[in-house]
């Protein structure tokens, strides 16, 4: 009898644990995320979150242990075997936009295991291009980032390309 009751309590507890966060999260999952930290050079990227959810299915593919199935990576399992989903889900919640600023380096916890944490830009690009090159998604810079005029100036490209290079390109296309 006790065993059955324990099973029931356990079952209800597990159900409660798995259902509750999923429910509360469902409302806050954005269909589109606006990525605008590189707007000085590129147009804003409207990341189609909904489309990626339908393709990838498992949230943990991108969000590691913050949401979705629990960690599988052998390195993470060492400590996070029993870690549940964390309240922070968005990339920018942990990955700093300015990882190398004087303040960020000063506050760096040198004893922490995650001392080598990527910045936001690095996390996005390594995650996105890493998966895109495996799955055959776009990997060129301008496949995702439409370059602005300022971007052309920065790369000395497009309308601001050196004359010699523009002549060369013409020749090649001919």
């Amino acid at each position: 009898m006790y065993a059955v009751r324990n099973w029931l309590i356990g079952g209800i507890a597990i159900l409660a644990l798995t259902m509750a966060p999923a429910d509360s999260r469902a409302k806050s999952i954005p269909d589109s995320i606006k990525l605008d930290s590189l707007v000085n050079l590129y147009e804003r990227v409207d990341f189609n979150h909904a489309k990626h959810i339908t393709i990838v299915k498992d949230c943990a593919e991108c969000h590691h242990h913050t949401t979705g199935t629990l960690v599988q990576d052998a390195d993470c399992v060492r400590c996070h075997k029993n870690s549940g989903a964390t309240p922070v889900v968005a990339c920018k919640g942990c990955h700093a936009a300015q990882p190398f600023s004087a303040a960020a380096l000063r506050e760096k916890n040198r004893t922490a295991y995650h001392m080598d944490k990527l910045g936001l830009k690095g996390a996005y690009h390594q995650n996105c291009t890493g998966c895109h090159s495996k799955m055959g998604g776009p990997t060129g810079c301008q496949d995702c980032h439409a370059r602005k005029k300022q971007g052309d100036a920065f790369y000395s490209a497009g309308v601001i390309a050196p004359k010699q290079a523009r002549v060369d390109v013409k020749h090649r296309s001919n």
Binding site: D75, P99, F100, S101, A102, L105, K108, R110, M115, D116, L118, G119, K121, G122, A123, H125, Q126, T129, T139, C141, F154, Y155, S156, A157, G158, A161, P162, Q164, A165, D168
Partner: protein, 308 residues
């Protein structure tokens, strides 16, 4: 008594000179960089060859417009090195890895900012400085354009303004010291890198991070941090997924600073210049003094001969 004093003096001078020289030599070999020295860890396994670092460097250092746009990948067809117009360049290497295709590996080149820079030691106008932040900077106002540093540099880094007819000087990466590093900010290339190939931080932290990455992913990395020990250690460090000689590194480089090759010789120079004249004048005086005692006339004529 006088003779004995002189010999004593000689002995003391000689001993001091020898001790001084050996003390200095020992000091040179053991300098491991300033404790607060910064650095950059370059992880070649992350680089996708977008050349954004080259563009950022060009703008930050106000360098002349490039010959080709910074998004032009055709530059990878040849191996480039830093020049007066580009303080950093990225090269592509087609590599092979055991048990699978290695594919292209990109390598960013710039000044590695040695702990004990050979360029600094070779510069006779003292244009170079190793700052406490780790940067090797230079004063182009005192540079006479002799190009000794270009020969001394083990990484073949300093460029030369061949385009300037009147005042050609050496040009190289200064770790964005004037505009960024001095104020605790990362260099422009680090900030722009999309893949975070470049990790900026305290050099000691970077060594720890590098070792951790190798330990965590032994299949991804070769078990070596290039620049940890090479030529006495450099502020810029490299991690790679293929053997370093496959991506253009000189793996025959000794751990000894370049300076060690010449320090024995350079250490002798002050001794030769200061001790030898005194020593041999002393010997000469002693020799002629004895002669003076035995033969007055001969001694006189000999002294005449030795007058300058």
């Amino acid at each position: 008594m006088k003779r004995r004093d002189f010999l004593k003096g000689c002995m003391a001078c000689g001993a001091a000179a020898t001790l001084g020289v050996s003390g200095k030599a020992w000091g040179i070999g053991s300098f491991e960089g300033y404790p607060e020295g910064m650095g950059v860890l370059v992880d070649l396994t992350r680089c996708v060859g977008c050349r954004s670092c080259e563009a950022a460097c060009n703008k930050e250092q106000h360098l002349p417009a490039p010959d080709a746009p910074f998004d032009d990948k055709s530059v990878f067809e040849e191996k480039r090195r830093p020049t007066e117009k580009a303080f950093t360049v990225v090269n592509r290497y087609d590599t092979k890895k055991e048990g699978g295709p290695g594919g292209p590996v990109y390598r960013k080149i710039q000044c590695n900012h040695c702990n004990e820079p050979a360029c600094l030691a070779s510069c006779f106008v003292n244009a170079y400085t190793k700052t406490k932040e780790g940067a090797v900077i230079y004063n182009s106002k005192v540079c006479v354009g002799c190009r000794n540093c270009m020969i001394a540099c083990p990484f073949n880094v300093p460029g030369y303004s061949y385009s300037s007819a009147l005042n050609p000087v050496v040009k190289k990466c200064i770790f964005c010291y004037d505009t960024r590093l001095k104020y605790g900010k990362p260099p422009a290339c680090v900030e722009v890198c999309p893949q975070e190939v470049l990790t900026f931080g305290n050099r000691n932290d970077l060594l720890k991070i590098g070792r951790d990455r190798i330990k965590e992913k032994p299949d991804r990395y070769v078990d070596h941090i290039f620049g940890e020990k090479e030529v006495g250690g450099t502020s810029w460090l490299y991690l790679a997924g293929v053997n370093f000689d496959q991506v253009g590194f000189d793996t025959t480089m000794a751990n000894e600073p370049i300076l060690s090759n010449v320090k024995d010789f350079l250490g002798i120079v002050p001794m030769v210049l200061t001790i030898w004249p005194a020593l041999f004048t002393g010997f000469h005086l002693l020799a002629t003094k004895n002669k003076n005692h035995t033969n007055h006339e001969d001694g006189h004529s000999e002294q005449e001969d030795h007058k300058p």
